[in-house]
Amino acid sequence: MSHRQRPRHRVLAAVCVLALVAVVVAVALVPSGATFARYFDEAGDSSGATLSSQQIAATTEGVITPDYGDWNWFDRQTNETSLTVTNSSPTAMVATVAIGSVALTGANTGQASGKARAYVVDRTGAKQQIASSVTTTRTTTQFPEANLSWTLAPGASQKIVVGVESNSTQLLYQRLVGAAGAKFDFRFAVNWRVDGLSSAESAELYPHGALGPNPGDRAACPAGATAAQECRGVVATVKRPVVTVATGSNTTGACSVTDNFDLSHTFSVNTSTLAAYSGLAKTARELQGSNPGNYGSYAPIPDVGSGFTGTSVEVVRQPYEVGEGYDLTFTFVIRGTGGAGTHVPGPNGERATQSPVYTLSMKRERFSIFPTCSVSLASL
């Protein structure tokens, strides 16, 4: 029995082996996902480009007033200097100026201390007082943004004028004479923002400020300036006025009246007692004309008398009716011309300077034959 079963087992084993081989081969022939052919195509457009970028660009420059020597030229009666803010960006920018401090340094500070006040010319053209009296270093507070904020169109610049003036009438011509050389050191921090965006939105776009992580002159930063603010410092130096006015000359008595044969009177103002000019010839000009501010058309006193003699201003009032009185004023300035070659020309090429404005008052009562007169400083 066992002899007959052995071949049967062998056949069965052979069949099983063959079947296993067949299964393996069949599995190998089944297509897998990895080898299945797929349709494929690739395409590219022509959108590639080179992209350029730029930074918001705005600058603040401190402009130091040129040294015109000791002269106070027509438009330099006060000591002014300025900042210039420039927007070089294609978008409008708003520059807000914060004035951090004003310090008094240099020579003769004792003469200037307490006699001068610092100011900035705001957006409306008005002088905003920074410090009522500068002594040593005075920390100031920022003015409201509405006053010291300038919106600059793309490419636009704005000059922001700061200066020092006397803190009461005539000081510049009188008491600041001894303060020549004193320096008023201003510290500013300028904050830029994109027009139309809030400061917070601008800060989000420009976390370091418009100019980068280290804008401006950080050494000039006033206390409290943030890293996003651009700092600048400018200095205004007190110059010795060429025109000086004696203390108390606002009620000067340098006026005299002369009777004339035709019953007219001549009012003479002795200019030597009014304003002192060093090395300059004097002329005078009436300011009640049609264009008193036009110094280029400066002319002798035009219509009220014999004019200017070099040492006096003469106003002839003629004729008059005894029964009529008069109360007239006449404003004039005294101008110094013919400066020596060593005098540095002014910013507009001027070689002349002028006094403060004086007022000559002429008065006669009805039926009186003795007019009176007085001269006073009208303004600086």
Binding site: D41, E42, L51, S53, T91, A153, G196, H208
Partner: protein, 187 residues
């Protein structure tokens, strides 16, 4: 005995040759060349049709947009303009600006049960530290039939992140063409 061996061999031969239960199918693997290859069973091809650029700015006053054709600015932007390639080359991006490149591709797809997907070759790397990019395909997912798909590549200039990369972030960057693939889906 001999008969049984013959029978066993015959059975094995039948198993090996018949393919019963193996589901084996004819197949061929091809990688299509740039020009679409039409095979008798179907076709899948894609080609660029047109490209449009739009620049978006966040600044209310902005002279850079003068002379460009305006479009509707989405929320958060003050300006939108369509630009040609030449105008784009002259444009100077500032922080917060966005550029969208809208590229249309025409897909030809014929074949029974042919399904496919569109993928975009991503940028190798961010163009510069100041830029970010994102690609969007519309319609997305598994597609069938011929149609036009739109790829929108959004590039946003965020500018320098820290103080150290301030200068590098403002350099010029070159953005490559948009490359897409149409690939048949397996199932």
């Amino acid at each position: 005995m001999r008969v049984r061996v013959i029978v066993a061999l015959a059975a094995a031969l039948v198993l090996l040759s018949s393919g019963l239960g193996t589901s084996a199918r004819w197949y061929e693997e091809l990688r299509f060349a740039d020009d679409p290859i039409t095979v008798t069973s179907g076709e899948l091809a894609i080609a660029s049709s047109d490209v449009a650029y739009r620049v978006l700015g966040r600044y209310p006053t902005d002279t850079r947009f003068e002379g460009l054709t305006a479009c509707t600015a989405p929320q958060g932007f003050a300006h939108c303009a369509e630009a040609s390639a030449a105008q784009l080359g002259d444009f100077r991006f500032m922080r917060g600006d966005r550029l969208t490149v809208e590229s249309r591709f025409d897909v030809t797809a014929t074949g029974t049960n042919l399904r496919y997907a569109i993928t975009v070759t991503p940028l190798q790397q961010t163009p510069s530290p100041g830029w970010t990019s994102e690609d969007t395909v519309t319609p997305g997912g598994v597609l069938t039939g011929a149609q036009t798909v739109t790829v929108e590549r959004t590039l946003e200039f965020s500018g320098p992140v820290g103080a150290g990369d301030w200068a590098a972030a403002f350099g010029d960057v070159t953005v490559p063409d948009i490359t897409v693939q149409a690939v048949q889906e397996d199932r």
